[in-house]
Symmetry: C2
Subunit: 201 residues, 2 copies
């Protein structure tokens, strides 16, 4: 005994969403069918168009439905001498929201992960090597996550840059501004200590 | 600064799924775009067809893409003298899997919940009243959940049946078979005690 074929197909299809197991998929399907058919229709439509027409920016690899993303199309940014390497499109947004950065980005769409079979080619590092060799950039900021994988990826990319004339920096890690010392994890505190700076009041 | 329009639309649309917040929707969208376009396409298709053509069984209210669901179409079941009231399609499947029940079902698709504006009409109790008045049924089993709302709903439906000649029963509540007493919650244990039966070894 199963649900009707189409109900079962909907439940099974929902499991392609990351983090959605059998019970959650069932709850989602019933909720849509019973309370939000309009939302379900809109999702079906958005999904279809997104899967079909969202690709990667030819320059920075961020998701876009155009050949070049808005940032890479901006005339000011095309002359930038700094390129910032991030793991995900969400990181681009986080950095843009600071208003502190006006250079270009390169979005890895992940990090090196030999276990999952994700190597340099999957992160577009061949494209990045060409950007670095072009002579446009003076500095590359490594803004990968401060995780084991993010550090390993940063390390690998730093080596890439050594062949070109690009200086390499890494975003600072330490105690979050506004955070209280006693609630900061030990690893972060170690980083904050070893990365201490001269203080002139 | 936002994601590209279509990426943002996909993220926003995913939030119509129950339990999906902004961060989760973003993670789901990136996962589909980067790792599972095929799954995303299949989901779009299944969603569209499901929202369009799944309705309620005219007899038992369960989800089906036909006028009557498979159970209500079964000739044997059409003669059944017992009707079992459940809250959700998943409950029908759970009871079918026991193989112990061969009667008909009535699926409330929820429970009475004045706070959420869900009253008797939303649960199809007018239809149920007609079934009970038809003279076909000798017994109605109340299998709503043993929650406050489920009990209140069972109580309301039992009153409905009093007007017809249908006897009303409630599924037993107690210690789960195979469960250990010390891990059973107090409420269940109270039910198990007050519902104790004569024991003849
Ligand atoms: Zn771009
Ligand atoms: Zn039915």
């Amino acid at each position: 005994m199963k649900f009707s074929p189409l109900v079962q197909e909907l439940i099974d299809s929902l499991r392609c969403l990351s983090g959605v197991g059998a019970k959650t998929a069932q709850r989602m399907a019933f909720h849509l069918l019973e309370r939000n058919r309009h939302g379900g229709m809109k999702l079906s439509d958005a999904l279809g168009r997104a899967m079909d027409s969202i690709g990667h920016c030819q320059k920075c690899r961020n998701f876009t439905e155009q050949d070049l993303c808005d940032i890479c199309q901006s005339p000011k940014r095309q002359l930038a001498e700094i390129i910032c390497i991030v793991e995900s499109p969400a990181d681009v947004i986080a950095i843009e929201q600071t208003g502190e950065f006006t250079g270009q980005y390169f979005v890895l769409m992940g990090h090196l992960s030999p276990i999952d079979g994700i190597g340099p080619d999957d992160l577009g590092l061949d494209t990045l090597a060409k950007h670095l060799a072009s002579g446009q950039y003076k500095e590359m900021i490594l803004a990968t996550n401060p995780t084991v994988e993010g550090e390993a990826t940063a390390h690998y990319i730093a080596d890439l840059a050594r062949e070109s004339q690009v200086s390499v920096s890494r975003i600072a890690h330490g105690v979050p501004v506004g955070g209280e010392l006693e609630y900061v994890d030990g690893n972060t505190l170690s980083h904050a200590l070893s990365g201490r700076k001269n203080y002139s009041a």
